[in-house]
């Protein structure tokens, strides 16, 4: 008669982890912010009244992209190490992840430096400048926040405060890092492929 299976009382009562649910909710909310910025970017493609245009000044940051995306793999490997309780391997992979992230930020900084001082593209220059710095800057902000988190966890690991029982917290944090990487795929596609 019922559409709902009655849960037998003897069965164990399991609920999803609140950390994961919370982080996934945060990611959904962040998606809302990114969607609006991406829509604005796409809407304003080719609508700038003056130069420079993306074709003239943008180079595809291939090395940066590879670094950031591979950091998603290294953090996943790190998660597996901590699950097994191998703290040293975890610390090494975690540091590698962080290094790749730092490389990405340095790459972005160099790109912006070139755009600003060589090509004279700033937020004020034209619509391309406004939308480009807003979207890529928004993503870079997330990478920086992620790096701070990565750095704190690395610090705790090196001072010996991280053990196997923190696996879940670390995996929840890793979800955020995966999200930052996934968003880069969208930003990269929109800015460097569609927008060029």
């Amino acid at each position: 008669m019922s559409a709902i299976p009655v849960t037998p009382v003897t069965q164990e009562w399991t609920l999803p982890s609140r950390g994961r649910v919370g982080m996934l909710s945060l990611i959904i909310g962040e998606c809302g912010i990114f969607t609006i910025f991406v829509v604005a970017y796409i809407y304003y493609i080719g609508k700038s009244l003056s130069g420079p245009t993306p074709q003239q000044v943008l180079d595809i940051p291939l090395f940066n992209t590879i670094c950031l995306l591979s950091s998603s793999v290294t953090i996943w490997l790190a998660e597996r190490q901590i699950e097994r309780g191998k703290i040293k391997a975890f610390a090494a992979l975690w540091a590698l992840t962080m290094g790749l992230g730092i490389e990405f930020i340095i790459g972005t900084a160099l790109e912006w430096h070139k755009l600003i001082y060589l090509d004279g593209l700033t937020v004020r220059t034209n619509l391309f400048g406004t939308t480009f710095y807003a979207l890529v800057g928004l993503h870079a902000t997330h990478v920086v926040i992620g790096l701070i988190g990565l750095g704190l966890i690395l610090l705790f690991t090196l001072t010996g405060h991280v053990s196997e029982q923190h696996t879940e917290r670390i995996q929840v944090f890793a979800l955020y890092w995966h999200f930052v990487d996934a968003v880069w795929v969208v930003v990269f596609t929109v800015v460097y492929i569609v927008g060029r």
Partner: protein, 563 residues
């Protein structure tokens, strides 16, 4: 003797005992550092009621200004600030916080949890919201703009470009608007995340998703909707700040930017926002109507599905606020149809509430009176909504008082009425005292009469062509008497709210003792003492049906037999 399925451990709430010996400072400090979901819930509600009075006073100023033609009660500049702040305050500092306050207080109690999933985040979210509101109001005195004078935002609560661009909005009024709402928006986001995590991860044993009270379901849906609703606004406001501070061109038509895209972004937030406000009060009605009809809610799964359906459809209707900007006919048709689609799930809900009342032993206590008034008023609000969803009709009446009357019918006739119902219903649980029934009936009838005088009449002023947001009008338009009636109605509502405020303060000191279950209700919060102890439940409860307390009260005829 049948077994009772719910281990009820009552206990004395030790906090009030302690408070007797506290100094005022200690008492204050206890509230400031609290991470208890019940205290934070109370803080939310008190904060919102304060701003309800403030924004209500602003509305009364607007009504005094419009009472007679060619009035100069306030200056035109002040008038713009008044309606901007009235709208912004009511939506962001009253509506959302009060409903999230109810959610904060009730969701853990209803699902048998000891606290929210993230108690500290909960406190952080509340204080962000609170400080955001204070920052917004600080603009009245501290908004030293270009001319060195205080200025509140005056661009309308929707802050359309190009009014918000630097040349048209000198000084910092618009920046206050954007910054304050970004700050309180992050608070809202935190609370939404918290409520989702709480409902999904903190339920007591046996509380399956389809056994949760409908209020909890609605809060879950609302929180999910908030995640994808408030964030676009935050994003758009960040763009606005980039324009204003860094010289960007997002909404700068001179440099190729678009003012229309702001309208799109705003209403992508703004329309679902209305549902963020109205869905929790659907939950309130779904809790109160069954209890005072002495029947189980009719069509529980249909109610859940309809709630999710409303949330989903609401994401695709925003441009019905924009029929007059000149979209393509395909665009117009799409938004006409999607808007009409909202009528289906809301219709399901109305019929289910009626079916719940049908055949029940209805008791017209104050909460139920507010709920029944809500049913009628919400129906009318829905009907004018369908009228306005027809694009040609909207072209005629866009930005007229008809539109104002329509959305105030939703915001006051449905939401505020149910908020009052909720306060009358749960006040005994929160404070341990009953609100006075006599004063409550005075409150209800005064508010009901005032509401209909104001907002019924507004429809006619709108049909006669009176536009919204105008400072004053000529005497020969035929609007004089109607505007007078609208204003008188507004003052009657004001008196009703004062009666309500007096009732709260009076009953808090001299009210009748409530006991743990004054309404003979069925959800878990009524199994705790009133007010509940800090830890809610001394032992973790266990439930077997949608009405755990019914099962205990009627061991010979429990609900689980029928699930």
């Amino acid at each position: 003797m049948a077994d009772q399925t719910l281990p009820i451990g009552g206990s004395l709430d030790i906090t009030p005992e302690r408070s007797e010996r506290q100094t005022l400072l200690e008492w204050l400090q206890a509230w400031v550092v609290t991470v208890d979901h019940k205290r934070l819930g109370i803080l939310y509600v008190v904060y919102s009621i304060f701003f309800l009075l403030v924004a209500g006073a602003e509305a009364l100023c607007i009504r005094i200004q419009l009472m007679i033609p060619n009035n100069h009660f306030v200056s035109p500049e002040t008038y713009n600030e008044l309606f901007t702040m009235h709208g912004t305050t009511m939506v962001f500092l009253v509506g959302m916080p009060i409903l999230f306050g109810f959610g904060n207080y009730l969701v853990p109690l209803m699902i048998g949890a000891r606290d929210m999933a993230f108690p500290r985040l909960n406190a952080f979210s509340f204080w962000l919201t609170a400080f955001g509101g204070l920052l917004l109001y600080y603009s009245f005195i501290g908004g030293f703009g270009l001319y060195g004078m205080g200025a509140a935002p005056d661009v309308g609560w929707f802050a359309y470009a190009p009014l918000t661009t630097k040349p048209f909005s000198v000084g910092h009024a618009t920046d206050y608007w954007a910054l304050a709402l970004i700050v309180s928006g992050f608070g809202t986001l935190g609370t939404a995340i918290n409520i989702i995590a709480t409902t999904l991860s903190m339920r007591c044993k046996g509380m399956t998703l389809l056994r949760m009270p409908l209020f909890v379901w609605l809060m879950l849906v609302v929180s999910a909707l908030t995640l994808i609703t408030i964030t676009p606004l935050t994003a758009a406001q960040v763009m606005l700040l980039i324009d204003r501070y860094l010289g960007g061109h997002f909404f700068d038509a001179q440099a190729g930017g678009s003012a229309i895209i702001w309208i799109h972004f705003f209403w992508i937030f703004g329309h679902p926002e209305v549902y963020v406000l109205v869905l929790p009060v659907f939950g309130v009605a779904s809790e109160i109507i069954p209890v005072f009809s002495r029947k189980a809610i009719f069509g529980y799964p249909a109610m859940v599905a309809a709630s999710a359906g409303i949330a989903f459809v609401s994401l695709g209707v925003w441009a019905h606020h924009m029929f007059t900007v000149g979209m393509t006919s395909v665009g117009n048709t799409f938004f006409v149809l999607s808007t009409m689609l909202v009528g289906i799930p809301t219709g399901i809900k109305i019929f289910n509430w009626l079916a719940t009342i049908w055949g029940g032993k209805v008791q017209f206590r104050v909460p139920m009176m507010f709920c029944v008034a809500f049913l009628f008023q919400f129906l009318i609000a829905g009907l004018t909504g369908i009228m306005l969803s027809v694009a040609p009709w909207d072209w005629q009446l866009h930005n007229s008082y008809f539109v104002i009357a329509h959305f105030h019918y939703v915001l006051v006739g449905a939401i505020i009425f149910n908020i009052f119902a909720a306060i009358y219903y749960w006040f005994p649980k929160v404070t341990g005292k009953m609100l006075s029934e006599t004063l409550g009936k005075w409150h209800f009838w005064l508010f009901f009469i005032g509401f209909h005088m104001t907002f019924d009449t507004m429809h006619f002023v709108g049909l006669l062509g009176m536009p919204r947001s105008i400072y004053t009008y000529e005497a020969n338009r035929g609007w004089n008497h109607l505007n007078m009636i609208v204003s008188i109605g507004a003052f009657i509502q004001g008196i009703a709210v004062l009666v309500f405020a007096f009732n709260m303060m009076h009953s808090l000191r001299k009210g009748k003792e409530a006991g743990n279950d004054p309404w003979d209700a069925w959800t878990l919060e009524w199994s705790t003492p009133s007010p509940p102890p800090e830890y809610n439940f001394a032992t973790d409860p266990e439930v077997y049906s949608r009405r755990p307390l019914w099962d205990i009260k009627h061991p010979d005829d429990p609900d689980w037999k029928y699930e």
